[in-house]
Structure formats: C-alpha cells, structure tokens
Symmetry: C2
Subunit: 275 residues, 2 copies
C-alpha cells in the first residue's frame, strides 16, 4: 500500500518534533510519545543516522525510562533490508514508529516504496502513531525540505531543495530547528511556489501532535509557525528569469505556543480557553 | 526641534540598509545614496562604532569614488560634542546624513535630544536624506530593537529588548541582517505586542528608500519582510504570566524584492509592471 492509495485515509497520530527534544528534565515531548505508545509496541527507526546503533541505544534507554515496555530497533542499513524478514518481523504488532534525526534523504532512499514502508503506512492508517524528530520530522511531509540556505532570502533558482517525502503529513511542508536556524525565508519560498501546501515550521524542543490529519496541538518549549499562502496576491517564482530573491505578498503567519491548536481543514488557529 | 514637534512633518527621504551593503562590485545601495546626495553635502556619522575614524575613512573613500564631492565627518565621541560648535559647523548646509553600523545605543546615548540631533532632524524635515546601515538602520525607528535572541522563539519576559530610537521612521520597527540572522521571531514578538507598528526586516545588501514617510521601494540583492499585525486575532503578551513563548495569530507577511514598493498608508505591497 502506498500513501496515494484511496483506502489509505489516515486515522493515526503524528508526533512531529522540531529536533533537540529535551532528554533530561521534564521530557514533555518524549513523555507524550510514551503516552501515545501506551501499552503498545514502539519501533525506533534511526535510519537517518550514520550511527544508528548509538541513536537506538540512546532512545531505547530514554523510552524505557519513561515506562515504555516494548521498544524495538528497526535495522535498515541497505535498501535490501527494506524487504527483509527480520525487518518485517520487527514491525509485527508495532503500534508506533519513531524516525530519529540525521539526513532525511537517507530515510527515503533506504525505505521509499519498500515492503517495510508499506507496512509502516498500514500501521499509521490503522490508528498507530508515527513520530519523527529533526530529519525524521521533515521526512513525514509529502514534499520535504532537504536543503536551502537559511541565512539568506530564498533565491528562485537557488539553494532551496525539495524531494519527495514519506507522505504521512498531507498538504504540509514541515521544517524543523525553525527559529534556531532562521528558516522562515526558505519556507516562505516553498509556500509561495504552491499555496496548496501549508508551511509548518517547528522550533527545537517543540512538537505538534496531529490527530487523524484534521488538527494539531502544540507541545513543548518553543514556537510553531504556520505559513498559509492561500490568500497570496502575488508571487514571482514562475515569471522571473534570474537569480533574484522571491517576492510574495499576503502570506498569513500564525505563531503558536504550547496548548494552542490548529484546525488543518479550516486553516484556523485557536487558543483553548483557560490557557 | 524634536520628532514630536507638529511642525516636523517629514518631507525627506530615508535610505534604510540591512547591513553589509556591497562595497566592491555594483554598489547599488551606495550608488543610490550618491544619487540622493546629488550635488549636496553628505555627512558621515560613524557614531555607533568604536573605531569611528576607520569607518569614516572607508566610507569617505567609497562615496568619493561614487562621485560625491562634499563628504564630511561628524565627530562625536562624548555627549558634550552633541552641542559643540565644531559638530554644528559640520552639519551646516548638509543635505544628507549617513549613520553607519555598530551599536545603536551608542548613537542615541551620544546625540539623543542634543542640538546636533535637532539639526539633523531639521535637515530631514526640509527634504534631506537620512541613511543608515545595520545599527544605523535600527536607530531610525521610533522604538528600536537593541537585543533579543534571534535563534529562539520570542519569550514574553525574555531576551527581547527595545529602546527609544531617533524617530525618523514613524510607525515602524526596523530590523536588519534579517534573513542572515533569523530574526523574524523577534520581530513577530514586537508587532504582536503592538500592531500599531509595522515590522520591517531588511536583509543584508538590501535597502528600502522611504519617500516622505508615505511609501518605500526596495533595492539590492536580498529581501525585505513586512510584518503587518493589524489583523491579529489573538496574542498573549499581556495575559500570560511566565516565560512562555509568544503566540500570535493572523500576522500578514509580505516578502519584497528589488523593485517592489510598499504603500505605508494603505499598508499594501505592489510590484510595478514590467518588473
């Protein structure tokens, strides 16, 4: 099964983390992951990393420390592993998958369109949880950011690079380490190119919890930026020849903090009363 | 005369530069300054710098190289100089003042509310040009940014620091080195606190030319971000007790590039035809 499959209406939960989630103190975000896993089976997928064993060991310890009893390691070092019996067995009965950080292209090139990926997608469609941090967050988008200079306003024929992601988060492009790496310019570039997608920029130690693709709420210490280009009156990506910066008018920006929610269908933020 | 004086309706021009303007190649921004000076008298005010002599020498050479014949140095090393005969004499007949970079607080503490400043303001009101780059750009605001961590979403009781500026650019808060230092979060913080002011974030080697306080146009290589919080539906600075990040909904953002214009009265961007 592939993301485009019409039987694949998502009913699962996404936990999308902007990177550097707190691992020592309150651990709000990892605690939320533990809560979502509940008594289920969590599979850590350190596919983005060049040192997957270390990453696995760190998160195994962390998640066990937060009371998750069934924690497993998805070992995929080459594309062949994406159809291995061992990998399929690791996923058996899994209710949550966690993609950790590194290089998002490693993830898609290792498991894109493999049986392992189809299985993960099935888990999601059946109500499971897919979590990702840093590169593991970006990869959840349909179209993912893989590069693009942060410290410079976006050039049309320039540094901004996109690639197909895993497609769990529909109609969104996710960017992480957002305030920390000054990335609003590159995300404005993407939503300016196609206002269909919502730009979601997530700060470090901050996450959004997306329920059934319909809405999300913010947890953690930083901010979440939502860039909605649906009211854009003018942008120049197609008409301009050269290496000039993007110009885009009337993008709506919402900056959300912990407890704020966002309705993805109506594209409206909300701050629940009593916050 | 002070900025608040009702006789003081600005008719002059502001050239507000995001820092690191090109000094070697096309020099579009310094060339614009030279054009604005025309046959008039340009006074370089390196007040923000701890090495004002070096800065003066560099810009004197640059501006002479661009054909400006009358280039003078406003030497102010202590607050007493703000009322010195020498300084007042330097400003005699001046048609343009250029505040260079460094620390914006040095500028305001040296000349704020001195006869020298009143004289500079008069030059502006009488149709002269006030230019500023980097710290010299920030200081042109009514309320200026003097600090605030860039790499972190704005905390309400946090790192964001403001101080009274020189007041040439009314109803605006200017931030510079904008994309390069990832500053949209702190500027969102400011406009969220008071939607009366427009946030103007200017990239390096990029500038806005403000005509008579009514509109501006963009020149240079980077982008100019306009943050308009007039439609804000919700923001939390007043109601929240702690050190939590700002949350602000429905800020309109325009990203402008060279040739784009912005009507400050209507708060509308435009991209003139043929661009």
């Amino acid at each position: 099964m592939r993301p485009g499959d019409p039987r694949m209406r998502p009913t699962g939960t996404l936990l999308i983390i902007g990177g550097h989630e707190d691992k020592e103190n309150e651990r709000i975000i990892l605690r939320e992951l533990a809560r979502l896993v509940g008594g289920g089976k969590l599979v850590i997928a350190p596919l983005a990393s060049e040192s997957p064993e270390e990453v696995w060991e760190e998160y195994e310890t962390l998640m066990r420390g937060l009371g998750v009893r069934h924690v497993h390691h998805l070992r995929i070092e080459a594309r062949e592993d994406g159809r291995s019996v061992r990998a399929m067995k690791t996923l058996e009965g899994a209710t949550a998958i966690f993609f950790t950080g590194g290089d998002q292209m490693r993830i898609t090139s290792l498991v894109g369109d493999t049986p392992v990926f189809s299985r993960i997608y099935e888990i999601f469609v059946n109500g499971g949880t897919i979590a990702g941090t840093s590169a593991g967050a970006s990869v959840l988008s349909e179209t993912m950011m893989v590069g693009g200079e942060s410290g410079e306003s976006h050039r049309i024929k320039g540094a901004l690079r996109l690639a197909p992601g895993l497609g769990f988060a529909r109609d969104m492009v996710i960017d992480q380490h957002f305030a920390e790496r000054g990335r609003i310019n590159r995300l404005l570039g993407v939503v300016g190119q196609n206002p269909r997608v919502l730009g979601i920029g997530i700060d470090e130690n901050t996450a959004v919890v997306v329920e059934a693709g319909k809405s999300f709420r913010v947890i953690g210490a930083g901010g979440v930026y939502v860039l909605d280009a649906s009211g854009v009156t003018s942008s120049n990506p197609a008409e301009e020849p050269g290496d000039r910066p993007l110009s885009v008018f009337d993008v709506k920006v919402h900056l959300l903090a912990e407890g704020d929610t966002f309705d993805l269908e109506k594209r409206r933020p909300d701050r629940p009363a009593g916050k």
